[in-house]
């Protein structure tokens, strides 16, 4: 017994004197956290989506936040609305989305702190029936749901192109609309990158893409509880720093997402065919300018006011609405300064 105790003391002493273990397994990526970068704290993130190719960049950013000493608790929800309600109810600190209506209607103590992705949808139509936007004047156009981003885009296109759709119909989910296109239930709709790729694979020449005006409205933004923000400014800053660093690394080299996934062991249950989509997806998303590398700021807020105002998500004159009523620009400014932007 005494011998065992002595051995334990020797082992403990050797461990204490030995070199510190590296925080990450590898140091190849820009994520290798140094001791001075370490921050203590906890962040509970509510994600209104499932882990997959499109959320891989976020998972990488969160893992890098973990590497800097912060305890990250990620909870997945079926919908963005539910995730936002988790933040309102105090079950989470941060979520993703663009909940302008929730902030304005309920006066909820949450604020947008950083634009992550802008809306990138493709207007996909039957190539034979609709060669251009004018051919869709008086025709049915399908979007996600009433009050959604895609309906706002449809209304924006009507304004820009001087046309009026005969009817705007609703089908939830880009993947469902893609299937509906292929089955002939829908002739014209908006699709995201994976859904458009799927349609192109299944029916290469049947559909084509109509040009869309550049609409840099927020698709995903970090939204944080105001009290949590006030109590954890350093944690919020690390979250944004690592997100911006990840986004920049992906834009510089879209292979980064796949490499980091392997290094960090993320989303390791992806099917092989989905694994193959990782690099093409991030190449396309980077080329399309999906990832916001400056957190958006006031300009993004003003764009959102106009865009989401089209479908009633934001009420009031976009020019006179107060950005601070919806956004807290402080964390983004601090993070941009820290990452040297």
């Amino acid at each position: 017994m005494k011998a065992l105790a002595c051995m334990s003391i020797v082992v403990l002493a050797l461990t204490a004197c030995g070199p510190a273990e590296p925080t990450g397994e590898g140091t190849a990526g820009p994520s290798a956290a140094e001791a001075s970068d370490m921050v203590e704290g906890t962040i509970r993130v509510a994600l209104g989506d499932i882990e997959g190719v499109e959320t891989l960049n976020l998972l990488i950013a969160l893992e890098r936040v973990r590497e800097r000493g912060i305890d990250v608790e990620l909870t997945e929800f079926a919908e963005e609305d539910l995730a936002a309600e988790a933040v309102l109810g105090g079950q989470a600190d941060v979520t993703l989305g663009a909940p302008y209506a929730v902030i304005q209607e309920t006066g909820a103590p949450i604020r947008i702190i950083c634009q992550l992705q802008t809306s990138r949808f493709f207007a996909i139509v039957d190539a034979e029936a609709y060669p251009d936007w004018q051919a869709l004047d008086g025709e049915t156009f399908t979007v996600h749901s009433r009050g959604s981003t895609t309906e706002a885009m449809a209304l924006f296109v009507q304004q820009e192109e001087g046309i009026e759709f005969g009817e705007i119909s609703y089908v939830s989910g880009a993947e469902v609309r893609a299937t509906a296109l292929l089955q002939g239930n829908v002739q014209a709709t908006f699709l995201d990158i994976p859904a458009w790729n799927f349609v192109q694979e299944e029916a290469p020449d049947r559909f084509h893409e109509l040009p869309l005006p550049d609409i840099p409205a927020t698709d995903e933004a970090f939204v944080a509880n105001v009290e949590w923000l006030a109590a954890n400014p350093e944690v919020a800053q690390v979250l944004l720093e690592e997100t911006l660093t990840t986004w920049n690394a992906i834009i510089e080299d879209p292979n980064f997402a796949a490499e980091e996934r392997e290094r960090l062991g993320l989303a390791d249950d992806l099917e092989p065919e989905l694994e193959e989509q990782i690099v093409p997806y991030f190449e396309q998303a980077a080329a399309e300018g999906v990832f916001a590398t400056d957190c958006g700021g006031e300009d993004a807020a003003r764009t959102d006011f106009e865009f989401y105002g089209l479908v009633g998500q934001v009420e009031g004159d976009p020019a006179t609405l107060n950005v601070e009523d919806f956004w807290d620009l402080g964390p983004a400014e601090a993070a941009l300064e820290a990452v040297g932007q």
Binding site: P99, A101, V102, T106, A108, G147, V171, S172, T179
Partner: protein, 274 residues
Amino acid sequence: MTGGGLAAPAAGAAGRPSAWGGWPPATRTWLLRAGSIVAVLALWELGGRIPVSLTFPSFTATAAAFAGMLADGTFLRAYSETGGPLLVGVGLTAIGGVAAGLVMGLSPKAEWLGVPLFVILQAAPSAAIIPLITFIYGIGFAAKVFAVVLLSTPVIVLNSYRGIRNTPVSLIEMSEAFLASRWQRIWKVILPAASGLIFAGLRLGLAQGFTGAILAELLITPTGVGDLITFYRSQAEYDHMYASILSIILVASVSITLLQRLEGVLFRPELRSP
């Protein structure tokens, strides 16, 4: 001793003025029901005023939204869309489901083949299956009808089957003794005897049909009442969203009560479902 002990409650019930002031039983029942509803609504109001969540409106705010939506025709438009697939789906299931239950109740082979299938269907997670309907039936009317059928069929079929199987043997023997033909036995003996469980199945099937129709509108194409819920939620108009949900509860409750009344008109009291 025993006699006095037994007489006491009767005397108390008949002679002593009760706490209810001698109101007739029917009035007492209605007062209790009304009191229970008022208590729930008062708790709702309290929860909304605290508030338990920023997304939880008070009852009065919800009632005001409900009145507004009723007055401006929002509910009428929504239910005219939701009602189509619901009526067609429940109608098809009522006819087909009762027929399937009848066949399974009368034929051992059909019973062996069908009962496990409907038991599994009843236990299956319908909300997970409904989005898959789009791969076969697309996104239109047929998909929504199928969602209604999917949810309402098992309960209607299995109740009908159990009703048929539980027909008293003495009644069947009596019909045999009176030399009734097979069709006469089914039409005049078995179906009336099973009517209680069949109607109970229809009532439950109608309730499930409402669930199927709303799930289809929430998960496939946002139309009708499902669209109201989705839209008002996205706009953070939670009083309107709750008013939409409340309307579903009211419409479903009224429909089921009407079906129960119909049963009361069609069948003798001893044959009615509990």
